[in-house]
Amino acid sequence: MKIHEFQAKGLLRDAGIAVPDSVVARSPEEASAAFTKLGGPIAVVKAQIHAGGRGKGTIKGNPDQRGVQLVKTADEAAAVAKNLLGNELVTIQTGPEGKKVQQVLVEAGCEIDRELYLGIVVDRGCGMPVLMVSSEGGMDIEEVAANTPEKIFKEPFCPDAGLQGYQVRKLCHRLGLTGATVRSAEKFMRGLCKLFVQLDASLAEINPLVVTKSGDVIALDAKISFDDNAMFRHAPLAELRDLSEENPAEVRAGEAGLSFVQLEGNIGCLVNGAGLAMSTMDLIKLHGGEPANFLDVGGGAQVDAVTEAFRILLSDKNVKAVLVNIFGGIMRCTTIANAVLEAYKQVGFNVPLVVRLEGTEVEEGRKILEQSDVDIISAEGLTDAAKKVVAAAGAA
């Protein structure tokens, strides 16, 4: 689960981790009042959307207005807020349609000496959370990793013992931080590592992490994502979710326990297992088609959830044919077959349906479909299924 920058900074502030003073504003008046309240000679107005690249992004229809802007007066803060609020901000991560700005963060400016990068993720390789820092703050960190990997320094840490003091000192040495700044960095880094574990985060990224002219380490930006699997023990975090930032079909699928990603093509896919779902997409492309989605119904889904999956697929106007590719293990073919009948009853099929069933309870599942009056193109094996659905989508 992703959250907004202002929410992430709120969590940091509550944990005693240094962030600039800031106020959230949802109208130009609030932005003006926020500037006055912060009392500084300068402030920064930042659009709040779930996407990176806001500083270089521009408002749709107003290419002069960027997503992050320095302001020097309350009136200026209000004017920038007016340009941003209610409009779509287009960045390299949003796609051309952009994302609507519903709030801005008005933040006190600070005097920047250096900009660094800091990130925490769980590293599959060593099986531990890892703190990464780089001297190249503010840059696209993937570029740094590709071009100058020697500028990234990593320290794994045990979730329960946390990041140790010597690890901070080593990283500071690598970054060239000295004196009181080391103590400030220690408080920041150890605090953030602790928070990462406490909240079951999957990603915490501070880019840039700033060293101020007075030598303090402070988060100028903050991005935190949480492990969806751990949300059961963090009920308060669920309130931070902003559904308007997410694809509606993906939200619907998530509520039904389905893993769904919207794509651009016209062949709807309903598959069990992430690997097979990805392979099914690969296969459709290989045979000249374009998948409309990735959909993994998982193993434990019952008839209701699978029926909902059909509803989501069929509600996509781009979909010209649907491929059901099931290799039952924990998922039973009978569950899928019953869901096909249920979906047919509830929504009807307005596009051709190609079904390939194999695995647990396959004979029973096939029988259910054969004995029904639903019009189905049945397929034997992967290639046959892909060819038939590509042909069906092309003919539609």
Partner: protein, 292 residues
């Protein structure tokens, strides 16, 4: 021989009284697996599927000589169940449960990595040695005893490969689904070592997917240490980038993780890479022919 499990394996199910645990335990018994007990805390003294149910794994070990466990308990309790099994002296654990918090697995992984135990999963289909022992949720009928070792990060993709092999007349020694989570107990390299050392295994197929560097590491290991023919498939060639992995996730792996990079690494190591998921069985045949 085979790896990890065989007809002498004494299997238990943690979570046998749950719906999925019971259904799949029954399928394992029907397949001919030597299941000796179930474990559900608070339900000790009951029976399930004609097997004794214990409150603790240690009782199942002491009273039934259990040495393998498949775990079906809900995600919040899975880490505890794995540690309980390892502590009780179980040698092979398959955690089927999907949805275990990553940091729970970090703790489990680091606790058991130096213990004498093999953890498969979580979020995996389990392990099967065809015609001897089925320990997991895979459909039994698609398998056939033979000489190909099968390993994969994806459950259903494993079934797909096995089905293709069986239809080509190629049986399997043991099939292992490693699990799709970021942190799992066993790696491709762990299994490559076992398959290389297993007399009955004559060829190996691995199914990987985008993300992480497990396939690249496996490729390097194959080049150095594996003399048997190896085939592979990578799922996710056409997946849109960045949809599931955060930015920093790609960094850790130094920009690696795309299907193309993985395929290049595999081919450079002399591995026969299937170009389509429908070509996995044939890729094993080609790898074996190439090796003579």
């Amino acid at each position: 021989m085979s790896i990890l499990i065989d007809k002498d394996t004494r299997l238990i199910c943690q979570g046998i009284t749950g719906k999925a645990g019971e259904f799949h335990s029954k399928n394992c018994i029907d397949y001919g697996t030597n299941m000796v007990a179930g474990v559900t805390p608070g339900k000790g003294g009951q029976t399930a599927l004609g097997l004794p149910v214990y409150d603790t794994v240690v009782e199942a070990v002491e009273q039934q000589g259990a040495n393998a466990s498949m775990i079906f308990v809900p995600p919040p309790f899975t880490a505890d169940a794995i540690l309980e099994a390892a502590d009780a002296g179980i040698k092979v654990i398959a955690a089927i449960t999907e949805g275990v918090p990553v940091l729970d697995m970090v703790r489990v992984y680091n606790r058991i990595k130096d213990m004498d135990v093999h953890l498969i999963g979580p979020n995996c289909p389990g392990i099967i040695t065809p015609e001897a022992c089925k320990m997991g949720i895979m459909p039994g009928y698609i398998h056939k005893r033979g000489k190909v070792g099968v390993m994969s990060r994806s459950g259903t993709l494993t079934y797909e490969a096995v089905w293709q092999l069986t239809n080509l007349g190629l049986g399997q020694t043991t099939c292992v689904g490693l699990g799709g989570d970021p942190i799992v107990g066993t790696s491709f390299i762990d299994l490559l070592k076992m398959f290389q050392a297993d007399d009955e295994t004559e060829a190996i197929i691995m199914m990987g997917e985008i993300g992480g560097t497990a396939e690249e590491e496996a490729a390097a290991f194959v080049q150095e240490h594996v003399t048997k023919p190896v085939a592979a498939f990578i799922a996710g060639r056409t997946a849109p980038p960045g949809k599931r992995m955060g930015h920093a996730g790609a960094i850790i792996s130094g920009g690696k993780g795309t299907a193309e990079e993985k395929i290049t690494a595999l081919e450079a190591a002399g591995i026969e890479v299937a170009q389509s998921p429908a070509d996995m069985g044939e890729a094993v045949v080609r790898a074996m022919k190439r090796a003579g």
